[in-house]
Amino acid sequence: MFRKEDVHSRSNVKSSVQRTLKTKLVSQFPKLEEVIDELVPKKSHVELIKCEDKIQLYAVDGEVCFFQKFDELIPTLKLVHKFPEAFPTVQVDRGAIKFVLSGANIMCPGLTSPGAQLPEAPGLEKDALVIVKAENKESALAVGRLLMSTEDIKSINKGHGVEMIHHLGDPLWTFSVE
């Protein structure tokens, strides 16, 4: 999703907007409710960074926590690492890690092999946001969007399964809010 970061403008976020942002986050990821005050403390300094292609980044106290394209908020991996339980998860096998880290979409076989894991039925719908974990690894390595529902992935088992949005080592990961 990010080729090269190009910052157009950056501005501080008002506390009222910050509040709406928090409610939106909680409505999108209900499990975040318990830790939302820890994630975005009341006195924190939230910055909105607008980039190319209408991508907006939200940085809390100098660390990019969310980004937004169109309407949906997407957590960055830094946040995912802090609180992985809040997000729906898929797992890929060891062989796929290399390709995921270079930014490839995840193919179905990599999600259905013995080392991989998909949520139990009924599973997740198409277009759902998922974080991608890897076999034998604790932390997540990517954030993606399902291109077909998890049940379809299991039954069809061919082609692209997850569209890559954000992975370790991409420009967003290396992006720093000076």
Binding site: K82, I97, N136
Partner: protein, 197 residues
Amino acid sequence: MSLRTVIYCGVCSFPPEFCEFTGKLKRCKVWLLENHPEKYQSLYGDAEVEDAAAKLAGSSIGEEREEKLEKDLLKLQSKQENREQRELAKKLSSKVIIKREARTKRKTMVAIAGLEVFEIDMKKLAKTFASKFATGCSVSKNAEKKEEIIIQGDVADEAETYIQKLLEEKGLKEVKVEQMDMKKKKKPTTTTPTPAA
């Protein structure tokens, strides 16, 4: 329930579990051992003792594919190392040249060339020089079409120490910083005449 803190590798910025996929594994291991020895133990400690057999058992993608993966990773690693070595050699062999040029009468300017190899942002450096020495400072192209920093005023020595400090921070202490004086000879008429006259 509270937030988790994750260690990030100081070399490749990934969580340490993923260091093996970056091709910088050797340096990552050193860093981890120095900074988080207990994490190092859990990641690499027993793997070396129990050999690759245990690793294979824990993996699900089959012996053949695992072997191939391992080979690919090794290749990537050696490639990366070679590249780093080459770059370092290039950096060490190049040098920074600080030229002091006379303009009119007592006015001088300083030109600094050869910085682009060290990944230093010349524009930013020019800005810092300008505010540090309270002079005009800019980036321009010299005769060889290379970028150089031009500082107005006689600050060659100060600039040299500053650049040396900068290079030291980057761990490139051995890089030569050379100062050249392009001063016009003060009284060419008195020094040049041959004793024949």
